[in-house]
């Protein structure tokens, strides 16, 4: 394992220290327990958007803390979900009285830890909500699995709902928007190489020189299937078609009811993409793939969308939700309506995403 790190146990801490000294204008960092929060938090009267998850996906989530995006982010150990005390302390630090929305990627660990955190924060008098991101079409059903993983749509949702919170949306409005973005977004990923968790010291899986993994998540875990390596056009076609051809997806989610102080279950079904849809396309590097190759992916996505009557109205291309140094990419399509576009275009000022300011 060769990485720019010191002791494996200090990796996350030292990277956060680097972030703190690099971006004091945008964010601050608390170390015991670990959370990243807006330099100007709490902001009275505005909903505070908090996300978090295992480290190793940088710039997500810490790099998305700042004006117009996250109020706070809770980094776990590499690829390990953070603990409830982090989220709870973070919630207390950023709540401006309008409540806290936790954006949770759908992994068993994240879900369980964020649910505990929400309970703790609510018990402290903070209005809370948990909205799940589960957009990975590589996972086919929710009955026989832990459900679809939260991947690329997370980044888009953090941007869009962060802008809505900045604009004064209340907690229910922010939650509705986040749920909608999640229902409108679908993703698929692939890997050319594995990555190495520092503490593990060797690659999570081995891939032959002519092999690739299709349908991976963002944790260096093996994917849906292993296939013979092929051209970027074929890879992109396969992934884009999986996204566009994916049928309705049903699952039951648990959301918090601030009236009764209990979890309520909701059945949610999202609808497939259709000709005529306007979309935001997000082509993401898993970390080790340079942006030049992403443009070759984007080229083919654009061609397929044009063929199928899906109109790309915005795009994001780069390493935003990564798996350490893994080579590979993911593609996310997000159906965009007026509300979504308005908040996508709104100013954002974070280390990882910046425009309009």
């Amino acid at each position: 394992m060769k990485k720019l790190i010191n002791a494996v146990d200090d990796v996350v801490k030292e990277q956060l220290e680097g972030m703190a000294v690099a971006h004091p204008d945008m964010l601050k960092i608390n170390f015991e327990p670990k959370y990243v929060y807006r330099a100007d938090a709490p902001i009275a009267g505005k909903v505070a958007l908090i996300s978090g998850g295992g480290s190793g996906h940088e710039p997500m989530h810490g790099g998305f803390v700042g004006m117009g995006m996250l109020a706070g982010a809770c980094p776990g150990e590499v690829f390990t979900s953070p603990t409830p005390d982090q989220m709870y302390e973070c919630a207390k630090a950023v709540d401006g009285g309008a409540g806290v929305l936790f954006l949770v990627k759908n992994y068993t660990g994240d879900v369980l830890n964020f649910e505990t955190a929400a309970e703790l924060a609510y018990a402290d008098g903070i209005k809370v909500q948990n909205i799940l991101i589960d957009d990975d079409v590589a996972v086919k059903d929710s009955l026989y699995t832990a459900g679809r993983r939260g991947v690329g749509t997370t980044v888009l949702c953090e941007k869009i709902v962060g802008a809505a919170a900045e604009a004064g949306y209340d907690l229910d409005q922010c939650s509705d928007l986040a749920r909608k973005v999640n229902m409108y977004g679908r993703s698929m990923g692939m890997a050319l190489t594995s990555c190495t968790v520092p503490a593990a010291g060797k690659p999570t899986f081995e891939l032959g020189e002519d092999e690739m993994e299709i349908g991976i998540g963002i944790h260096g875990e093996p994917g849906q299937k292993r296939m013979a390596m092929t051209s970027v056009d074929e890879i992109t076609t396969l992934m884009t078609n999986e996204i566009l051809d994916d049928g309705p997806y049903s699952r039951t989610v648990r959301e918090w009811d601030n009236e009764s102080g209990t979890w309520v279950e909701k059945d949610i079904v999202d609808q497939p993409f259709q000709a005529g849809d306007e979309v935001i396309v997000f082509v993401n590097s898993m970390g080790g793939t340079p942006v030049s190759e992403l443009y070759a992916v984007y080229r083919k996505v654009a061609e397929i969308c044009a063929d199928r009557g899906v109109k790309i109205v915005r795009n994001l291309i780069g390493p935003y939700i990564t798996s350490l140094e893994m080579q590979g990419c993911s593609i996310t399509l997000l159906k965009a309506d007026e509300e979504i576009l308005k908040f996508w275009d709104a100013p954002v000022n974070t280390p990882g995403l910046r425009w309009g300011v």
Binding site: Y107, N113, V139, T145, A146, A200, G217, G220, E221, Q224
Partner: protein, 210 residues
């Protein structure tokens, strides 16, 4: 009778056993998960070890609850809240106790496992830690009905646990990260089922030591 000192010794031994098995558990998790289960458990029990001296004079219920809270706030991942809940619930069930009879011992484990199920909603055959615990608890209950030698009964339970752990190999995962692999999860032993076996095995070894 199982003494408080033995419970503390069990927890201390666990910190050693989980350090020894850090790579093994991580290796199992890299086949069907994200290669961190051993690292997570080791991190959590290292924290437990730090905490132990300051709580060793509390009652067993208190000690177990503190272990649970320590795991919840240090492990993360899926196993953090699950094992955290396990110890929190077993601690609540052992409130104020300074020593445990056989019945207590079953109750300790049963409450913990109930906590795991309530949190994680796993069912038998989902290829999780629960698949180790369910048959193990049956063995415990059945064996104590006819034999009150704690060590003999625990030995039987450990045998069941070992078999149950191995029985996760042919299962297809339906919970946790391994479920994303679908059929590719078949043929690998579940990391959480393995750490659960180690937890029980270490309890037996601790009591055998004396």
């Amino acid at each position: 009778m199982v003494t408080k000192d033995q419970i503390v010794a069990w927890l201390e031994n666990l910190t050693v056993v989980l350090t020894e098995n850090k790579e093994y558990l991580t290796q199992l998790d890299s086949a069907i998960g994200d290669a961190d289960h051993g690292i997570n458990m080791d991190r959590g029990f290292k924290k437990v070890k730090e905490k132990l001296p300051s709580i060793a004079d509390k009652d067993i219920g208190n000690i177990l609850k503190t272990v649970g809270m320590t795991l919840i706030s240090s492990v993360g991942g899926a196993s953090g809240p699950l094992y955290g809940t396990f110890f929190m619930r077993s601690g609540m069930a052992m409130a104020a106790k300074e020593e445990l009879n056989n019945e207590d011992l079953v109750k300790l484990l049963q409450s913990g496992v109930d906590g795991i199920v309530q949190r994680g909603r796993a069912q038998l055959g989902d290829k999780t830690m629960y698949d180790t615990w369910a048959p193990t608890l049956e063995t415990l209950n059945a064996a104590f009905a006819t034999n009150d030698n704690t060590i003999e009964v625990l030995q039987a339970a450990v045998n069941t646990a070992e078999q149950a752990m191995k029985d996760t190999i042919p299962m297809q995962a339906k919970k946790g990260r391994a479920s994303y692999l679908g059929e590719r999860s078949i043929g690998h032993q579940d990391p959480g089922a393995t750490s659960s076996y180690l937890i029980l095995k270490t309890l037996l070894d601790t009591l055998v030591e004396g």
